[in-house]
């Protein structure tokens, strides 16, 4: 039997990794990927908790998260494409025209 704590710590690490990615990467696509990592960390925590509590709600939530992730990916990538068309780059720091 694997203690719940292990799962949770794992998800914590993954989440932190994802956030780190959001800041480290200089590429919008990779940033989106990092966000996916974060979402997965959350999913893991959910399922682990659900398993412990002995009901399937955890998995249900996970499905919703996945669905939202799908939607987010679709829109996000569409945005990325649109941006790339206008800026010819994927560097988030290049999209700073919306200021002051």
């Amino acid at each position: 039997m694997v203690p719940l704590g292990h799962y949770l710590i794992l998800s914590a690490i993954l989440f932190a990794t994802g956030t780190m990615g959001v800041f480290l990467r200089r590429n919008v696509i990779t940033m989106l990927l990092s966000i996916e990592v974060m979402l997965n960390a959350v999913n893991l925590a959910f399922i682990a908790f659900g398993r412990t509590q002995g009901h399937v709600d955890g998995q249900v939530i996970m499905f919703f998260v996945v669905t939202v992730a799908a939607a987010e990916a679709a829109v996000g990538l569409a945005l990325v494409i649109a941006l790339f068309r206008h800026r010819e780059t994927l560097n988030p720091d290049a999209f700073t025209s919306l200021k002051w």
């Binding site: 956030t19 800041f23 720091d93 919306l98 200021k99 002051w100």
Partner: protein, 703 residues
């Protein structure tokens, strides 16, 4: 049920206002008339229901909605129909309907859109007037009060392209504001005194008050209310707007400025009869103002040359008489006169309208004359109405006016009585001056009828063109017809005839007891002037201003005698006195007619000579005692000066603009600093969010 009465005209207004400009004249006019007819029908039905009730507690109440509720102030939107209100709604909706019908013909030269606009305003006015009449508490009445004010403004300035018209509209509105202010303050004081704004409640409490001997809170409240009344009903000192209001279309003058709206003040006092009875001081003032107005207006009316203005001044003086009635506590008499007056004054105005219509917008009576043959219907109806207003025996005003005079006399206000009598004499005189100058003799100047005087017709037409008068169209129309004048078209004729009949028979609901007809209307109205709880007779007592010392107690015993006889006077002498007075006043009427005949039929020359010899007086009268000029000097120009030199140049430009611009600069500066946060780099934004997350989590971890 009750709600429907004001609602129907309002619907008419909505329809005509929304889609009127797309409707044909027939359609929009039809809608308006139908709405009024419906309102009239509903009023008749509800009055009928009212009559079925026992006299003591006649009253139909309908709470439409909860309106204002804050702490002690609870004002439901309630309509209440009682005898007083029932008289009013019948007058408003009935005469209103006739005038609508009349208007369909009178306004027919207007463009379709204008036509619809006119009728939408007229309907709106009717509905507001009915709300005013039916309102069961001060605020609801005030809604109607303001509403009719608005409509009168809109309708006076209906031909807004004409400067004089729009000015007159503004004048009426502003003068009314003064009155409304008084009304509001009075309302507040009433609330402060009685903790309620419902007429019933106020009357109930006031009924148990001892009438104030000295000038106290109630007197102030009632006085303020009276200021409001003077505003609406064009009494001194706020009478100045009514004559100018004649700039509006004639049917409007008939409906609003003769029959209904201007009587709102009288109605309001009647509505609060019990309250006023508790303040003899105020009543005295009311009587005084009323009589003064009556006299002044009568004198002015003698010399005016504009047919409508003469009628306007006669209205003012009649209103003065009504206030006299109120002042001497003869509320029933006042309302009675109001009701008869509505008929014949409306008839007179419509008649004058017919004349103007026929003469292509000519309004100067000096240019008229001899129209009797050419406009028979108009002539006869006009004559009847004039006789009625003059108080010719057994016509409507005969009863009502005599009632007032008698009440004044028997009330012991001999002075008031004397002046009022003089005023009624004047009434007879100027009315028949009008009749003679307009309809008898030979035309002294061009009407479109005379081929010879085409030139002067052109002149007449020109000056109308110059003022941009709406009646140019008439002029053209009739000039093209050439030949004889044409009498009122059917729609107008019907209205005239019906109103004429009304002005003959309307009085017969109030035949005084002495000539064997127990004054029904008085008994009918009595409950409305009585404090609820005290039975009907109490009103007669309460309406005795000369006996303030004796409270409701004595009123109660006054019930026993009933009838017009006040308490403590022998009935026989009463009757003799009353009959004498009646004879006297009818004598006055005849005399007035005679004088008018003598001066303006028999020997015009003499008249002019007199006028010349009393040039000063004549000028003063002609200029309406210079009241307008006085106001202008005392009130208007100082205000103008202050607002221009201080309010505008100093306060507005300096303080207000300064504040506004200052706010702008401050915000501008700060945002100049704060906008630095908007770096536009999404990573920075993410960072700010993330910092927050870490902090919050940290708080929970190390808590």
């Amino acid at each position: 049920m009750l709600l429907l009465i004001p609602l129907l005209p309002f619907l008419g207004f909505l329809i005509n206002h929304a889609v009127g400009r797309r409707l044909s004249k027939t359609a929009s006019g039809g809608v308006a008339c139908l709405a009024m007819a419906g309102a009239f029908g509903m009023s008749v039905v509800s009055v009928w229901n009212l009559l079925q009730m026992p006299p003591a507690d006649r009253g139909i109440v309908q709470q439409v909605a909860a309106w204002i509720e804050s702490g002690a102030l609870v004002v439901p939107f309630t309509l209440r129909l009682d005898p007083l209100a029932s008289v009013m709604i019948l007058v408003v909706s009935g005469i209103g309907f006739l005038i609508h019908v009349y208007s369909t013909a009178y306004m027919h030269e207007e463009r379709d859109s204008e036509y619809a606009r006119y009728f939408s305003y007229l309907n709106l006015f009717a509905s507001f007037m009915l709300v005013l009449v039916l309102g069961a508490n001060f605020p609801v009445m005030f809604v109607g009060w303001e509403g009719v004010g608005l409509c009168s403004y809109l309708l006076i300035g209906f031909w807004f392209t004409k400067k004089s018209a729009s000015d007159a509209g503004k004048k009426a509105f502003i003068v009314n504001r003064v009155g409304d202010f008084g009304f509001l303050l009075g309302m507040f004081m009433v609330f402060a005194q009685f903790g309620s704004l419902d007429f019933q409640e106020v009357a109930r409490q006031a009924g148990h008050l001892q009438p104030e001997v000295t000038f106290g809170a109630i007197s102030i409240a009632t006085l303020l209310l009276f200021v409001g009344a003077t505003g609406k009903s064009a009494q001194i000192p706020l009478h100045v707007w009514l004559p100018d209001a004649m700039e509006g279309p004639t049917p409007v003058s008939a409906l609003i400025h003769a029959a209904t709206m201007v009587t709102a003040g009288v109605y309001m006092i009647g509505r609060n009869a019990v309250l006023f009875s508790a303040a003899p001081e105020t009543l005295a003032i009311v009587a005084g103002v009323g009589v003064a107005t009556a006299l002044m207006a009568g004198t002015i009316g003698l010399v005016q040359n504009d047919i409508k203005r003469v009628l306007a001044y006669s209205t003012v003086s009649q209103l003065g008489l009504m206030f006299v009635a109120m002042g001497v506590g003869a509320y029933a008499a006042g309302i009675f006169h109001l009701y008869t007056h509505a008929f014949f004054k409306a008839c007179l105005f419509l008649g004058s309208g017919a004349v103007i219509h026929a003469l292509a917008g000519e309004q100067d009576i000096r240019k008229m004359g001899g129209l009797r043959k050419e406009l028979p219907i108009t002539y006869w109806t006009f004559l009847t109405a004039s006789l009625a207003i003059a108080g010719f025996p057994f016509l409507s005003a005969f009863f009502s006016k005599d009632e007032i005079l008698w009440k004044a006399f028997s009330g012991g206000h001999t002075v008031v009585w004397a002046v009022a009598a003089a005023a009624s004499l004047l009434t007879a005189i100027y009315m028949f001056r009008l009749v003679f100058l307009t309809f008898h003799g030979k035309r002294t100047s061009a009407g479109p009828g005379e081929h010879a005087a085409g030139a002067s017709l052109a002149v007449a037409r020109d000056d109308h063109a110059s003022v941009g008068g709406p009646h140019d169209s008439h002029a053209h129309g009739h000039a093209s017809e050439g030949g004889h004048l044409h009498d009122a078209p059917p729609a107008m004729a019907t209205a005239l005839i019906l109103l004429a009949i009304g002005s003959v028979v309307a009085g017969y609901v109030g035949i005084p007891a002495v000539i064997g007809g127990g004054n029904q209307i008085e008994h009918f109205l009595a409950p409305s002037f009585a404090a609820p709880g005290i039975e009907a007779g109490g009103a007669r007592g309460a309406s005795h201003a000369e006996a303030p010392a004796e409270g409701p107690v004595s009123h109660a015993e006054a019930v026993g005698e009933g009838g017009p006889a006040p308490s403590g006077v022998d009935a026989a002498t009463e009757h003799r006195a009353e009959l004498t007075l009646m004879a006297f006043s009818s004598g006055l009427a005849v005399a007035g007619i005679g004088i008018a005949w003598f001066f303006w039929r028999r020997s015009r020359a003499l008249t002019d000579r007199i006028a010349a010899s009393f040039a000063g007086v004549h000028r003063v009268l002609l200029n309406k005692y210079y009241v307008d000029e006085f106001y202008d000097a005392v009130i208007v120009s100082p205000i103008k000066g202050v607002s221009e030199r201080f309010l505008w140049k100093v306060f507005d430009a300096g303080v207000i603009d300064g504040v506004v611009n200052g706010a702008g600069t401050v915000v501008n500066g700060w945002s100049g600093i704060l906008r630095r946060l908007q770096t536009g780099s999404m990573r920075a934004y993410a960072l700010s969010v993330f910092v927050g997350v870490v902090m919050i989590l940290g708080y929970y971890v190390w808590r």
